[in-house]
């Protein structure tokens, strides 16, 4: 039996004798490993990005609203938003027991309301919210203040503007805070400006409902409700639960509480951020599986390239195999020689693939704003896979070489 170092030297020499062929086989594995790396990077980066964007809605958020399909067929539609100021107060009073940290009513305009300053008009998402809203959705103020309790109770005509609205609507010569705007003809004072938020990625896959986070305009919910037909009506409640895992349970409790308080037979629906996250995870997981399968196929093709090359090498070197056997090489010596050649090609391809994959990830991160999440596990796995691919694809040709009959091998041209 020959020593490992000698086997390695021989393998390197044999590979060096066929540089182009070796390079092409290496390239096959390089592409495969680079593809795997890219998929892993995109998967991890995408996941990170989605989570950081979901955070802008509040990860512990849950929503409760009236389910308008609660009227039995044939009966007249039951009126009302189903949630009123008394409900809000009642839930607020039981908040700790229900597992709610804080909550905000949400009110949406019941008709198209114009938003203007002088002759400037914007088209923005107008909502009425409570004082806790800013904290629940992780909004930050770049100027002014948020809503105080008195703004809500006294139905003050004050507004918070997200950056796009502020830029399109306000007089750029003056400080934004303190300017007046008109909503549906009524005068509102700007009391605060919100910091920009990124939801580009979510918007691009549709999970954000097409709503841009920077196109929002917030007013006290009581004020907005009073401008519509139902001065105390709340369209939905946004809850921030104490414990992420209990979001569904808390939502169910609030729903049954609301049902008890409205015995005329109203039904309530609920959604949690936790369930959105689960959905997003499923989508990303699906994308990752497709990507991994595609990358694995290119790795498989790379492996077949090695098998092809080693098969050719064994045929070409039949006589050499015969000579080596005649002068004392065992089957294991011959097997090791060809396996090491295959593994070397594969490992070289793996290392090169890692390099290219990493470079591609860096470029990708720079272009798309994906965060670069380095993964030592992925790197080790890629190397392990490339060694494995080399050994597997080298196995059959190497075994054929090892089992050649020395006399027949020596007779080859």
């Amino acid at each position: 039996m020959s020593a490992p170092a000698d086997t390695l030297t021989q393998a390197l020499r044999a590979l060096a004798a066929h540089r182009l062929r070796t390079a092409l086989s290496v390239l096959g594995i390089t592409i495969g490993i680079a593809a795997v790396m890219a998929v892993v990077t995109i998967g991890k980066g995408g996941n990170y990005l989605v989570f950081s964007e979901l955070e802008t809605f509040g990860l512990n958020s849950a929503w409760v609203y009236r389910d308008r399909n609660d009227t039995p067929p044939g009966e007249p539609q039951r009126e009302g938003s189903g949630i009123d100021a008394a409900d809000v107060t009642a839930i607020q009073a039981r908040a700790a027991r229900l597992g709610i940290r804080r909550l905000t009513p949400l009110v949406y305009p019941d008709r198209n309301m114009s938003i203007a300053q002088g002759n400037r008009r914007v088209d923005a998402d107008l909502s009425g919210v409570g004082a806790a809203h800013v904290d629940i959705v992780n909004d930050e103020l770049v100027a002014g203040r948020g809503f105080h309790a008195v703004d809500i109770t006294a139905r003050h005509a004050v507004a918070l503007l997200a950056p796009d609205v502020a830029a399109d609507l306000l007089d750029p010569q003056q400080p934004g805070v303190g300017q007046d705007i008109r909503i549906d003809g009524r005068r509102f004072r700007v009391i605060g400006l919100l910091a920009p938020k990124s939801r580009d990625f979510l918007s691009s896959i549709g999970s954000a409902g097409g709503q841009s986070a920077n196109d929002r305009l917030l007013v006290p919910w009581t004020t907005l409700a009073s401008m519509g037909g139902e001065p105390d009506g709340v369209d939905s409640l946004q809850l921030e639960v104490v414990d992420f895992g209990s979001a569904q349970r808390v939502t169910d409790r609030v729903r049954s509480l609301l049902k008890r308080r409205h015995p005329q037979g109203l039904e309530y629906g609920g959604e949690t951020m936790a369930s959105y996250i689960a959905t997003t995870d499923r989508i990303l997981g699906g994308v990752a599986i497709i990507g991994t399968v595609a990358a694995s196929i290119s790795l498989l093709v790379g492996g077949m390239g090695i098998m092809n090359m080693m098969g050719t090498a064994v045929l070409e070197r039949t006589r050499e195999i015969g000579v080596r056997k005649a002068i004392g090489a065992t089957e294991r010596d011959i097997m090791a020689q060809f396996l090491v050649e295959a593994a070397l090609i594969s490992v070289a391809g793996g290392l090169l693939g890692l390099l290219i994959g990493t470079a591609a990830s860096v470029v990708l991160a720079a272009v798309t704003g994906f965060p670069l999440v380095p993964s030592p596990v992925a790197i080790l796995a890629a190397l392990a896979v490339s060694v494995l691919v080399g050994l597997l694809s080298g196995w059959l040709p190497a075994r054929r070489a090892a089992r050649m009959h020395p006399v027949e091998a020596l007779r080859a041209d």
Partner: protein, 229 residues
């Protein structure tokens, strides 16, 4: 050294069955230089392959230095070739990617348990012995036919084998280089090496101490000769 008893060996394929050796008994003592002769198809190459433990046989018995070759597995046969046999082929059969030194050292790689520095030193001495001290790092393609066969002889000798197996060692050489190579064999014989050589040339066989002639897979003549040298 070599005891062949009634060796039978044939080749079978789908279309034909051919018995090449039909009961060959042959005994070669240590230090003999045996030339195996015979017309093509007589089975002389097959016999040499059996003696060199490159090929098996169907019936009969073979003892090499007391060992029953018929019972040995492939690894044991490889070890036998690595340590106790040296091969010289008609077409040299050097490995083209290795230089002369690497080719000569290769049997020691497979024999194992010889350190690299030691291997190279022994190979260097072997090449010096065949007059190629100045060709250590030439590859086979950069050497003449005679030089290649001398590298091959150095390779066959490097593991200090009990027996040298030579298959038409002068077949690919012009007569002058052929004579040189045979002179080298005679010197080895004179120093006590056992050599078994196949040839179809009478002048080449004349260098041996004993001539065994095969015909149709049987030994038809076995004569001792006074060395012509």
């Amino acid at each position: 050294m070599i005891e062949l008893a009634d060796i039978v060996k044939g080749y079978r394929s789908a279309s034909l069955s051919l018995t090449v050796l039909r009961g060959v008994s042959l005994s070669i003592a240590r230090g003999e230089f045996v030339a195996i002769m015979g017309p093509s198809g007589s089975g002389k190459s097959t016999l040499l392959n059996v003696i060199g433990c490159l090929d098996g046989f169907d019936a009969g018995g073979y003892r090499f230095a007391g060992e029953d070759v018929g019972t040995l597995g492939t690894d044991a046969l490889a070890a036998l070739r690595a340590r106790r046999l040296g091969f010289v082929f008609q077409s040299f059969n050097l490995i083209s990617q290795l230089d002369a030194l690497g080719n000569v050292a290769l049997p020691l790689v497979y024999a194992g348990d010889v350190a690299r520095a030691d291997r190279l030193e022994r190979a260097r001495r072997g090449l010096a012995d065949v007059g190629l001290a100045d060709r250590l790092h030439h590859r086979p393609a950069e050497l003449s036919g005679g030089q290649r066969q001398r590298v091959a002889i150095a390779r066959a000798l490097v593991n200090d084998p009990d027996v040298i197996i030579a298959d038409e060692p002068t077949g690919n050489l012009d007569s002058a280089t052929g004579k040189e190579v045979m002179a080298m064999f005679e010197r080895l014989h004179a120093r006590g090496r056992t050599i078994v050589m196949v040839t179809h040339e009478v002048e080449v066989a004349a260098h041996a101490s004993r001539r065994v002639t095969l015909r149709d897979g049987r030994v038809v003549e076995d004569v001792a000769m006074c060395s012509a040298a």
